[in-house]
């Protein structure tokens, strides 16, 4: 039976730094990819996989009662791969094959090539609908597995997200949790300059969701939010995680609008890793 892995606070902090190391190193090695969008989600996925939330077993990646994590924002793949490697789905050294011919660590997640990847994503807006399918399957099978889906904030400009939000709220899928990585930047501009989403929580609430707005880089707030989500009955939950695109690397944080889809140059890598701090 899949179990949640529960680490102490110092270990969670170390793992968060380690994931950031992996994200920077793998994308710089690949020469392409989306480190900034991966860095913003680090605390959320750290708590999810190591903070006593997600029940999983890398030895039985298809166990029917495992909890699911669907990364709808597929360009955050380097972050997903980092957490899957640390969780034990594949050797950490494979992270350096990111985006290379023959590697299952493709530019965007491919569920058919890498155990632990629950959905093939990369065309934005589709993960929540797939999560609803899993949530319905749990209901049909009488299983208590939970489904977690993470979208970007720019991503929810996609209409399908709202078709799905309407449906999940209507059906009262309380075994479904959405995390919006609210890093406030999309490809060409700030999200607010493209489509102001606020009041974002109110939009979900009007579709019969329970909402929680948190600092997405606070391990405590993320931990508390997942505990809250598990306790909600009768409604799906959305955790709006306020984050910083490129979190942990000053080069990216200082010019958040300029680094979408760009790796850190080789000559800046050492400084970035130093800023992140000792992890590995």
């Amino acid at each position: 039976m899949p179990q949640a892995r529960t680490e102490e606070r110092p270990e969670l902090e170390r793992l968060a730094r380690t994931l950031r190391h992996h994200i920077v190193r793998s994308t710089t090695e690949a020469g392409s990819g989306h480190p900034s969008t991966s860095l913003s989600m680090v605390e959320v996925i750290t708590v999810l996989y190591f903070g006593g939330v997600l029940r999983y077993d890398p030895q039985q990646p298809h166990h029917p009662d495992r909890d699911r994590f669907i990364l709808s924002k597929g360009h955050g793949a380097p972050g997903l791969y980092a957490v899957l490697a640390e969780a034990g789905y594949f050797p950490v050294e494979d992270l350096m094959t990111l985006r290379q011919m023959g590697s299952p660590l493709e530019g965007h997640p491919n569920m058919r090539r890498l155990a632990g990847v629950e959905a093939s994503t990369g065309s934005l807006g589709q993960g929540l609908s797939m999560g609803i399918g899993h949530a319905h399957a749990a209901g049909l099978d009488g299983s208590d597995f939970r489904t977690y889906v993470m979208t970007g904030d720019g991503e929810i400009e996609q209409g399908q997200v709202w078709e799905a939000a309407m449906h999940a709220g209507n059906k009262g899928l309380d075994n479904l949790t959405l995390i919006v990585d609210r890093n406030r930047h999309q490809q060409t501009d700030a999200v607010a300059n493209v489509q102001p989403l606020d009041p974002l929580g109110a939009k979900f609430e009007s579709f019969n969701w329970e909402t929680r707005d948190i600092d997405g880089h606070s391990l405590d707030e993320v931990t508390e939010a997942f505990a809250w989500a598990r306790g909600v009955a009768g409604r799906p939950q959305v955790i709006i995680a306020r984050t910083i695109k490129g979190k942990g690397v000053s080069l990216l944080e200082k010019a958040q609008g300029k680094w979408h889809g760009k790796p850190i140059p080789k000559e800046e890598e050492a400084k970035a890793l130093e800023e992140i701090g000792a992890g590995i």
Partner: protein, 319 residues
């Protein structure tokens, strides 16, 4: 004067969508089968399943993109989801969801599009799927089936549910000529030879199969023996059967209720061109959208009749 379907020499049976609905309700005996609807279940007849198995029926509303995504999630969790809507809304609206959430991960989702082709009639071109077979064939790994009548639709419904992998079946709105028995031999990927002949081959699917048989009767009175193939599976195409026809007959006419591009005609031509170049002619909607009208008036106007097939056969044999 009557046209098209209503003057077929065959008895008119149920619509293929009705046969699908009945067969789906039977297939519900398998507990893994779940049905997803885009709020058209009384048109697609998935309401028959809904009545028997309401707990395994999900109406997601008029939201085909979400419908296909939910089906993908259910399939990833081990269910056999059947997602059904009007064919044009299913394929056109949810094309990217079928691509990304179903075809690319090769998930076991059963897509069924109804109200295909111009034979839906009065509702007009916005409701007519005339590009759907081309769109469905474009997905790597997708099985694409266009059955001709009620009994073969029922067999295909069960066969596709048992088949692993993504599938698309195309059904129509009106009652159509009866060509098969419930016990007929009908296998996905295997064309059925409904009439033997060694002069010319007519390859058809959907409502054009009965018309092909009527056209073959007309050719027989000219002393021309036409072979008629029900090519119900467009993908994977029955290459052997087509090559055999190309070898054994002088020409091939392909008839389908679809655009000229990307459907059965294009697929057969690819096989013929590669294996045994043969003179061909095509009966289809061409390169246009249709209009409102009575189904038979539309079929006549857009040249989907036994006479059109007959003319194409005579023309191609003269060359």
């Amino acid at each position: 004067m009557s046209f098209g379907l209503s003057r077929s020499s065959f008895e008119i049976g149920p619509a293929t969508r009705a046969a699908f609905g009945d067969a789906l309700a039977e297939a519900g005996a398998n507990q893994d089968v779940v049905v997803i609807d885009g709020d058209v279940n009384n048109s697609t007849y998935t309401n028959k399943f809904k009545e028997k198995y309401p707990e395994r029926f999900f109406n997601v509303g008029i939201a085909e993109s979400n419908m296909v995504g939910v089906a993908a999630g259910l399939a990833a969790a081990g269910k056999i989801p059947v997602a059904s809507s009007f064919s044009t809304f299913l394929l056109s609206n949810a094309f990217d969801q079928i691509r990304m959430s179903v075809a690319f991960p090769n998930l076991n989702v059963k897509l069924v599009g109804t109200h295909a082709g111009i034979s839906i009639g009065e509702d007009g071109p916005s409701q007519m799927a005339i590009e759907d077979v081309a769109l469905a064939c474009a997905f790597p790994g997708m099985t694409v089936v266009v059955p001709a009548d009620g009994p073969s639709t029922a067999i295909a419904t069960h066969a596709l549910i048992e088949r692993e992998g993504p599938t698309f079946m195309r059904c129509g709105r009106p009652g159509v000529p009866l060509l098969y028995e419930p016990t007929s031999d009908f296998q996905i990927g295997k064309a059925n030879t409904l009439r033997q002949g060694d002069d010319i081959t007519i390859i058809a699917n959907g409502i054009m199969v009965a018309m092909a048989l009527d056209a073959a009767e007309g050719l027989a009175s000219d002393g021309i023996q036409a072979r008629v193939l029900d090519m119900h599976t467009v993908k994977p195409i029955d290459t052997d059967c087509i090559v055999k026809a190309a070898n054994e007959t002088r020409a091939i006419v392909v008839a389908e209720e679809h655009l000229a591009y990307g459907g059965l005609g294009s697929t057969v031509a690819m096989v013929v061109g590669e294996h045994r170049p043969t003179r061909m002619a095509f009966v289809d909607i061409g390169d246009t959208y249709a209009t409102s009208g009575k189904p038979d008036e539309l079929l006549e106007h857009y040249g989907l009749t036994p006479e059109a097939i007959l003319d194409a056969a005579r023309r191609v044999l003269k060359d």
